[in-house]
């Protein structure tokens, strides 16, 4: 009696699920995840179960009509029969989600936010740069480098015109 009740619960799903009797305590509850599931997959076009398990009366009568000639079915009826068995058509299951747009938008947003954080840090967190960055100090530095003839062949001092005390044109 318990077993038939469970069978009716299961409906027209796979009746091969085993009902285990544990030590005379009765029938274990059949968990949902143990039963065959429906999924739309390109590589497995006919899933284990139909998509719609509980048929409405119209759907039931349509199923009866399906036993006759298929040419007698209207286009809407054929589509209805398809939708009973399947959730999404191949075209629907294959179409893209446009998720990439959200991803790119998120990337730009967070890069922008990071930029704001960096600007704020510059203003409120970092102290002054060392005095060696002052323009006057830099000038003295350049003069010292020229006096030392840094890279006189092809590099730094090579570009300085010592006769006219100016950079070479």
């Amino acid at each position: 009696m318990l077993a038939t009740r469970v069978f009716r619960l299961v409906g027209n799903r796979a009746l091969s699920t085993s009902i285990c009797l544990r030590g005379g305590h009765g029938v274990a509850k059949v968990e949902d995840y143990t039963l065959p599931a429906y999924f739309d997959r390109r590589e497995s076009p006919l899933p284990d179960i139909k998509f719609v398990q509980q048929l409405s009366p119209e759907q039931k009568s349509l199923k009866e009509k399906e036993k006759g000639s298929w040419a007698a079915l209207s286009k809407e009826e054929k589509i209805a029969l398809y939708r009973i068995s399947f959730k999404e058509s191949f075209a629907e299951m294959d179409k893209g989600t446009g998720e990439w747009k959200s991803v790119v938008a998120g990337i730009f947003f967070f890069i922008g936010f990071t930029g704001l954080v960096v600007l704020w840090q510059r203003k409120y967190v970092y102290g002054d740069v060392p005095h060696t960055f002052d323009p006057e100090y830099k000038q003295k530095e350049v003069q010292r480098m020229l006096d030392m003839r840094i890279n006189p062949v092809e590099g730094f001092s090579a570009k300085w015109d010592y006769e006219n005390n100016a950079w070479k044109k």
């Binding site: 390109r42 590589e43 497995s44 076009p45 006919l46 899933p47 284990d48 399906e66 036993k67 000639s69 298929w70 040419a71 007698a72 079915l73 286009k75 054929k78 589509i79 029969l81 398809y82 009973i84 068995s85 399947f86 058509s89 191949f90 075209a91 629907e92 294959d94 179409k95």
Partner: protein, 141 residues
């Protein structure tokens, strides 16, 4: 032993040259180092026989189709015809339409295969009253 190896390599070379768009079902890719390779005709005949079983049940139809789609080939129209007739025996129009969708999907970039298959199957589709996905408008998302 050498003769067997030569025979196998020859048939291997034959299947290698079939790189142009295939309308024929080719051999399932198995690397046996021994044993007879199944020819395309044997493969087709085996599958046609499978779907032609008069009292085929729904599970067998599903298993057959899912396995067939798993192979690296587009099934021959004659196999598909047998499968569609099996759907008719099982009073399952939805699966018949699904099979056509799967064939189109299986062709991948070779867009000329699906129209060819439909052309070959047209008499069967008319006889059984099976619409194509395009006729129903479910070929677009």
């Amino acid at each position: 032993m050498f003769r067997a190896a030569l025979r196998l390599s020859v048939s291997g070379a034959r299947s290698l040259t079939r790189s142009r768009p295939q309308y024929t079902a080719s051999v399932a890719a198995r690397s046996y180092s021994h044993g007879k390779q199944e020819t395309d005709e044997e493969f087709d005949a085996r599958w046609v026989t499978y779907f032609n079983k008069p009292d085929i049940d729904a599970w067998e139809l599903r298993k057959g189709m899912n396995t067939l789609i798993g192979y690296d080939l587009v099934p021959e129209p004659k196999i598909l015809e047998a499968a569609l007739r099996a759907c008719r025996r099982l009073n399952d129009l939805a699966s018949a339409i699904r099979i056509l969708e799967a064939v189109k999907d299986k062709s991948g970039p070779h867009k000329e295969i699906y129209p060819y298959v439909l052309q070959e199957l047209q008499p069967t589709l008319n006889e059984l009253g099976i619409p194509t996905p395009e006729e129903l408008g479910i070929d677009e998302a």
